[in-house]
């Protein structure tokens, strides 16, 4: 479905990604783990058109999307839930969801999808008229995901959805991710919480200082010593 072929990405003179390649197949949950500043978010931003790769290709459903503007990538079915939620704080929950469907015009379908979002996250239904800035962190994260679902994506990019969330919320979020996948959306998940991520993912990539250093099935990686030490330690 998605094929990234040795891309280089820069911020000014700083090179954040160095020849990164990866693949995501239809229906999979693929997770990307790595330390702070490894370049995970950078990769997602490049996929969703916020950044342009200097080198390399990105192929999505057989078409090249590298360097295309964000709106056409959204239109093609890639939806990105950015790091730190980034909900539109001064707008209501419902407005946020409507913006998720910004490029769509099929009213009936939109209404149906909204129902679906409210089914997955009942709390959002309760808060639909509340300004999203006053939601709690977990609720905002749900809203961000709901907003992305409203775009009816084929591929959902999630950037650290569990960051800063209470343990019970983390569980809910991960359950939801599996739910979304069941409904037919492919997911590329970036996580610090490697433990949880690997437990729901099919395959995984480990990224360090802008390079992919390891890849394999989630099971394999969970067993790898290197991963254990750096990303699963602690607990």
């Amino acid at each position: 479905m998605l094929k990234v072929n040795s891309i280089d990405v820069f911020y000014g003179n700083i090179q954040a990604l160095k020849g990164v390649s990866l693949e995501v197949n239809e229906g999979e949950i693929v997770t990307l783990i790595g330390a702070n500043g490894a370049g995970k978010s950078t990769l997602l931003k490049t996929l969703s058109g916020l950044l342009k790769p200097k080198k390399g290709t990105i192929e999505y459903l057989g078409q090249s999307i590298a360097g295309k503007p964000a709106q056409s990538i959204v239109k093609a079915g890639i939806s990105h839930v950015p790091e730190g939620r980034r909900v539109f704080a001064n707008m209501t929950v419902e407005d946020n969801l409507d913006l998720g469907a910004y490029l769509r015009s099929d009213r009936a379908e939109i209404a149906k999808d909204k129902e679906r979002v409210f089914n997955i996250f009942p709390i959002l239904l309760e808060r639909r008229k509340q300004l999203s800035g006053t939601l709690s962190g977990g609720e905002q994260q749900m809203l961000a995901m709901g907003r992305a679902i409203m775009a009816k994506p084929k591929l959902l990019l999630l950037d650290e959805p569990s960051m800063g969330l209470a343990p019970i919320m983390v569980k809910t979020i991960f359950n939801t991710i599996e739910e979304i996948r069941k409904e037919g959306t492919t997911i590329l998940l970036v996580e610090q919480n490697a433990h949880m991520a690997l437990s729901i993912a099919d395959r995984a990539y480990v990224i360090e200082t802008g390079k992919v250093v390891l890849s394999g099935t989630a099971k394999e990686l969970q067993e790898t010593e290197q991963v254990k030490a750096a990303y699963l330690g602690g607990l």
């Binding site: 950015p82 407005d95 913006l99």
Partner: protein, 291 residues
């Protein structure tokens, strides 16, 4: 009776401020730029209307539309050429550029036509009628209605339409807006087009109401409209109208009391007092920074 008359005077002055402040607040609300050139777009609008009516023989409405269209285009050009590059620069850099653009428009106009004023022809007969002993002119009723109608339309556009939601999204988080599939550049251009068209309309109406226009006419109403927008809570559309009214009435009352020389000072005193007690203006939500 004299006081009723003064109140009416104040409201009609306030509606002019409100009309200009609407465009100011609109642009500010979306890209947080104090567009100092707004007053000059207003001036260009007044001149376009003047030429349309006096030289090319157009009627009031065609002239108004023409002025709005030309100003919309001018606004978009200004944004694309002078402000777009600075979207990620500091606010103050954008402010300085806006001052530069303002001077450029003023003095380019003077370069091509001189600094002398021009007098608007009478296109709308200014009948007036009496009400409880006070005199109300048709023109001031027209201006008040135009301001309020425009306010409602703008409020509707910004809060109820898709493009309005896109504008608010862009204003809050440009990058997240792009992830929604919003074309940020176009959205900002549309904002400038609307704001500048409003300035153009205000210019024509100002010309008809006050007759005299000149290349530097935008400076003072520009600053006053800015004050009005801040008074009402900058970025808030009904706030611009409320701020304009407050400013107009305060100025009128001060003059009516015989302190016309202190009029502008009084306007600023009110501004400062309101800001001290309501640091985000009359309608501004006093949001404490969430830490």
């Amino acid at each position: 009776m004299e006081w009723l008359q003064q109140l009416i005077n104040g409201i009609s002055l306030g509606s002019i401020y409100a009309l200009i402040a609407l465009g100011y607040t609109m642009v500010y609300g979306i890209i947080k730029l104090i567009n100092f050139a707004h007053g000059d777009v207003f001036m260009i609008g007044a001149f376009i209307g003047f030429f349309a009516i006096a030289r090319w023989g157009l009627g009031f409405f065609p002239a108004l539309i023409l002025a709005m269209v030309v100003c919309a285009i001018l606004g978009v050009l200004i944004e694309r050429i002078a402000y777009k590059r600075l979207r990620n620069a500091t606010r103050i850099a954008a402010l300085i550029t806006a001052i530069g653009v303002s001077l450029l428009i003023e003095y380019t106009t003077i370069f091509f036509r001189g600094a002398q004023p021009e007098a608007y022809p009478d296109v709308i007969p200014n009948k007036s009628f009496h009400f409880l002993g006070a005199q109300i002119s048709m023109q001031s009723i027209m201006i008040l209605s135009v301001s309020i109608v425009l306010m409602i339309i703008l409020q509707f556009i910004v809060h109820k339409t898709k493009i309005g939601k896109a504008m608010r999204a862009v204003s809050y988080d440009e990058e997240a807006a792009r992830l929604m599939g919003i074309n940020v550049d176009n959205t900002i251009s549309i904002t400038f087009a609307i704001g500048s068209a409003l300035a153009g309309a205000a210019g024509v109406i100002f010309g008809i109401y006050y007759t005299k226009i000149d290349p530097l006419m935008g400076i003072i109403p520009g600053v006053k409209a800015f004050v009005a927008a801040v008074l009402g809570g900058i970025g808030i559309i009904p706030g611009a109208v409320a701020g304009g009214m407050v400013l107009g009435v305060v100025e009128t009352v001060v003059s009516a009391l015989g302190f016309s020389l202190w009029r502008d000072a009084a306007a600023f005193v009110i501004l400062i007092l309101i800001l001290i007690f309501r640091p985000s203006g009359i309608f501004g939500k006093n949001t404490r920074e969430k830490v």
